[in-house]
Structures are given as C-alpha cells and as structure tokens.
Symmetry: none
DNA sequence: CATGAATGAGAATTCATTCAT
DNA sequence: AATGAATGAATTCTCATTCAT
C-alpha cells in the first residue's frame, strides 16, 4: 500500500542493471555490437525496450558500462597498488591469479575479450585509465626481466604478452565450439611460470 | 577514339574490384562491418553507391569477397600441397614465410585479422575450407611435436598457436598507435624457431 | 495525532491541484505543450509522475484545466452580465480592468497567451464558451462605435483589437528578456481610452 | 542512359527542398512543430520518410531552414540598406510594402507567424541576425518619431508595433475560419499611415 | 559503365500511462 | 495519497538497395 522505500527502489535498480549488462555482454560478444539490436537485447533480458533506456541513456552508454565493468575486473587482476618493483613471487601470484580467473569465469572473459576486440570498442579504450595501468605494468615487467638477467627484456615482454593474449584468442576462437581441458590450462600456466621465474 | 576493347573493359573491372575491396577491408577493420555504411565506403573508394552494386551484389557479398581473398592468402602461407608430414626445415620455412609476410604486408594482415575477429564474420568462417586447412595443419604439427619428442604435443600446439596469434593481437592493438621495430620481430621469429626445431 | 479530516484532505487536494496547474502553465508556455514531458513537469512540481495522474486524467486533461482556468479569468475581465449595450464609462472600466490585470499578473498572462497561441491549443478553443463571449463582446463594441459616430465601426473594432492583442504580443516577445516600464503601460492604456471615448 | 549531369541533380535538389519546406511550414503551423510527425510530413509532401533526411539532417534542421527562409523574407521587407534616417516617404513605402506583402502572400505569412510564435521556435530566434535588424529598425523609428515632434516617441513605437503585430495576430486567429476583406485591410493600412506621417 | 535521388524496412529512442507496493 | 519501475505504441532516424537517366 505504502510506496516502496528508497532502499527498495535502489535494490531493484541495482539488480536490473546487472541483469541488463550481463545480457548485453553476451549479445555484444555473440552478435557484435553493431549487429545486436536493442529489441533483441531487451527480449533476451526479458524486459521492455523502454526499460533499457530507464537504466542506460543509449545503446552506446550501455556498451560503455559493460566495458567499464570489465576493465575494472582486469585492473583488479593487474593489481594496482604496487611499489613499482615486481618480485618473482609476485609474478607467480599474478600469473596464477589471471589463469585462475580465466578458469573460473571462462565464459565471462571470452565474451569480454570478444567485445573489446571490436573496432568500435577499441576506439573507446583510448581514454580509459586501463591504458595507464597496462603501461605501468609493462614497465614493471621490463624492470623485472632486466633484473633477472634476461638478455632482451623487451623481447621477453612481447613474448610474455603474446603468450597470454594468444591464449585468450585461442579460447575465444574455440568458444563456443569446444572447451579447453582444465588440465591443459594448468600446464600452460606452469609453462609460463617456469619460463619467467 | 576507338571504343574500348573487351580486354580493356575487363582490366578496368578488375582494377575497380580490387580498389573497392581494399577500401572495404580498411573500413571494415577500422569501423567494424556493422558500423561501416555503403555510402561512406563508396565515397572513400571514390565511386558512386550505385557502382558498388555493379561490382558486388550486396554489402555482405563484398564482405565475403574480402574474407575469401584473405583466407586464400592465409592458405597460401600454410601451404596446402603436403604429404602430411612436416620436416624440421619445412617448419622453419613455414614460420619464416609467415613472419616475412607479416613484415612486408603488415597493414594488410592487421586489417584482415581485425575483420575476421568480428563476431559477425566469425560465423561466416564455419563453412569455409580454411577450417579444414587449419585442422590438417594442426594434426601435422601434433605429429611433428610427437616425433621430435616433445613431452606434451598438445600443449606445444597450444603454446605455438598462442605465440603466433598473440603476436598478431599485439600488432593489432598497437596499430595504428606505434609500429613494432623490425629487429624485434626478427628476434621473436627466431625465438619461435629455436623453441621448436 | 488524529487522522486528517475530510476537509483537510480536500484542502490538500486543492492546493496540490493548483500547484500542478501553475507548473504546467509555466512549462507549457516555456517549452511548448508538445515538448514538455510529464516527467519534467512532475519533477518541477516536486511530485511523482504517478501522483499527477491522481489529480489529472491525462496530460491533455491537464492542459484543458489550465486553459479553462485562464479562459474563466478572461471572461471575468470581459464581464458577461450585460444588457448588451456598452456605455462610455463601461468601456473605460473594461479597458482599465484589462490593463490593471495585465500589470498585476503580467507573468501569468504572458504565459497564458503563449499557451493558447499554440496550434494544438487553438484547436481546443473552438468548442469553448469563450468564443461566444468574444462574439457577444465584439457586437457590443460594434454597436458602441456605431452609436458614437465612428465612420467605420468594423475598422475600429479591428484597430481596437489589434492594439490590445498587439500589446499582448509585445509583452510576450519581450518576456523574459526585459520588462515594460509601468509608466509606459499606463500611457498606452490612456491612449486607447482617449481614442475611443 | 548516361547519368544525369551535375546541373540536373542540382535542379532536382532545389525543387525538392522547396517542396519539403513548403509542406513543413504548413504543417508546423497547422499542427505545431511538436505535434507534426515526419511521417505525416513526408506523406503530405508525397515523398518517403527517408528522403526528408536526404535533404535535411533532422526535423529540427528542417525547422531551422523554414525559419531562416521566413526571416530572410522579413528582412527583405524591413529593407536593411538604409542610411539610418527614415523619411516620411520611406515610412509610407515601408508600411505599404508590409501590407502589400501580407495581402499577396496572406497564407504564407500567417503560417510563418504561427510557426515563430511557438515557444520552441522563439528560442531559436535569439541568435539570429533578425534581432539586429529589428533593433536597428526600432531606433530608426524612434528617431523618426522624435524628429516629427511626437510627444513620447517610445510610446509611439509601442503603439506602432502593437498595431502591426496585433493585426498579424488577428489574421492568424481568424485563419482558417474566415478571411479579412481586402478593403478593410487597405483602410487599416491607411489609418496607420495617417497616424504617423 | 556511372550517378545519386528515392525508397522502405527496421533500428534507436521517447514518453504518456499503468500499476505493484 | 504517493512512488517510480515498467510498458509499448509512436516517433525520429539510418542505411542497404533500387532505378531512372
């Protein structure tokens, strides 16, 4: 009888928001941002077209939110609050964290990678703080390779990055045709750790 | 002025076709297939919208042609006419061929990779002979790793693929921000060759 | 705390109604009926969208009420209960009443004029008693001009109406940029009175 | 067989543009900008919805063009290239020009006035050169009244403006119910001339 | 072979209105 | 009496495609 409280409304909004963003991530990844219509998105999320606009200003704003969310997750993995020097243990921890996340949230990451590889989306990334994070991380890695006596630190950075990102691409291309066996993932993870510690 | 001969007409048509496809590759890569309009494409290619339809039945047909062209180039690299057994020298030749092509036609490959990574396009690949080629090549590689005594051939396949594809992704993400130094590319190429021969 | 009495409820309702109508008049005038959304209207009136529908059946009904209110005010000015013959004193009284109302409720009248000039609204006026009032008043004026020996009573009616309405338009166009000095208004008022008595 | 020449295309575009703008003026006036849909506009102009967007970037841009056109016509009437001083003959000429234009293009002017009185449109006028013209003209009139010995030039400016604009409003309110007899218009025109020369 | 005006189906977006709480 | 999430019809706008010239 009495109207919902502010708190109740906030809870509703929060849930709905996530629900829409989840659907959007999936559809943007499977159909591509440009080929995915708001209509289909709404019906997949089991809401009306209009409601989407109650939560996001536009299709593009929805994309922004989805990206933002994923970038935050990535930044979480890269772990920002460092003193700028990477120890061997930290590198191991970092690699384990990445692969552990890939394993436990495989579908999420594949979808997200698929989304951010789209040209329209790449453009958006330019102004994001993620760029800063990545650069910071890269120089930490270079420093690490130098200190560990690797002959050509920059080559190692390329190699390291290529292996991680290449693995992502493999997953992405395999999906949704077949799944990588968990055991194989672990071996690959260990291979990288062995190479660099 | 005598009328153009049949041969001349054919030459014009051929040139125009290539000109359109080149523009399409660039725009599909930079803006994404879904965000690229025929209008912009035509004006970029310096022809009229109508003329495009004189050369390609539809936007999708144009995409098909662009993909087809690129896949043929890739299949050329993978080298189809094999007896099914890969020698060490052949692998080296193969790797050198890939990297050489990347170096000499860097922009082309980046654009092409960007195009075929788009979800809409991935779908198209399902029915293409390229899939067959890739599978054939994969089993050749597995065979090779087995014969060369690698402990876990499948892991090596993943590693090998990840390195190559990951390198492509690095290039793609760097483009058009900065260019990889040629020297670094060569080192990476040698690193892969060293690992697997 | 005892529950509110019926009377109190009615008072609240009445106040709220006026509050909504005032906001509506302002927004309909400033943004135009068609460009003014219920959402903005509600937030301007500091109530919820839903509540608006508790007081008015629809946006159009709200417009109706706003118009009705203004028309009543105008009819009040024109003074309906007449024997059909206008004396010189009555005309003076009438003109003074109009200008006095304009001066004391300048903003209100400007907003109202702005609203009823909108095409959508003009249509509504067709069926209103106001038309009847205006016609009645016009023939009274014609009669008056005839009796006072004006050469072309119809021309005078046009002239008289044009001056009054034209003044309204000037106000409307000036608003909200600058205000007419009160003194000037008085002079203009006297000019009309001088012309016609 | 051969494609149309540039000139032919330009001619087509010019004609169509005018045709669309004419329809727009009528509909914006009769239904109001906000209540007039592109669909109805297109079908009234006997073109497809899409074509409108080939000629105007948006509904708002179309409105802009319509306004621009009308303002140019008005500025034509006000006659810009003056030395800043108004002679009695010039004033007569000016008044005659205005009324002559009203008589010969009555419907056009009514529609245009109806359009620019809409709140949404009033806003647009702020940045237009017309404002400058009107101000220039006003000061010329003030100067004129002063020189001719009118007691209160500013009052006369108000009176003069009110008569002209008020007449426009009368026309606008009468339309499309009944038409003013031409004879009456002439008398009113002469009345203004008599008053001020 | 070449052009760009024209079409129309369909996509994004808006907003009056309803309704559970 | 009061709230704002939810709806969906209507609206603006886009763009692949056609076609007269």
């Amino acid at each position: 009888m009495s109207p919902r409280t502010r708190k109740q409304f906030d809870a509703i909004r929060h849930t709905r928001r996530l629900q829409i963003m989840e659907t959007a991530l999936k559809l943007f990844a499977l159909e591509g941002y440009g080929n995915c219509t708001i209509s289909r998105l709404a019906s997949q999320a089991a809401i009306s077209k209009g409601l989407m606009y109650n939560y996001f200003d536009s299709k593009e704003a929805l994309l922004e939110s989805v990206i933002e969310q994923g970038l935050n997750d990535i930044m979480e993995l890269i772990d920002p609050d460092h003193d700028g020097v990477l120890t061997s243990d930290e590198l191991v921890g970092f690699i384990r964290k990445i692969f552990s996340s890939i394993r436990s949230r495989q579908e999420y990451w594949i979808l997200f990678i698929t989304v951010i590889m789209q040209p329209k989306v790449k453009t958006h990334l330019k102004d994001k703080p993620i760029i800063h994070y990545v650069e910071q991380f890269s120089s930490m890695m270079l420093e690490y390779f130098k200190k560990r006596g690797f002959e050509d630190p920059y080559l190692e950075l390329v190699n390291f990055s290529a292996m991680i990102e290449g693995f992502g691409v493999l997953l992405m291309y395999a999906y949704p045709i077949f799944e990588f066996p968990e055991e194989m993932m672990l071996k690959f993870e260990n291979r990288i750790i062995d190479m660099y510690t």
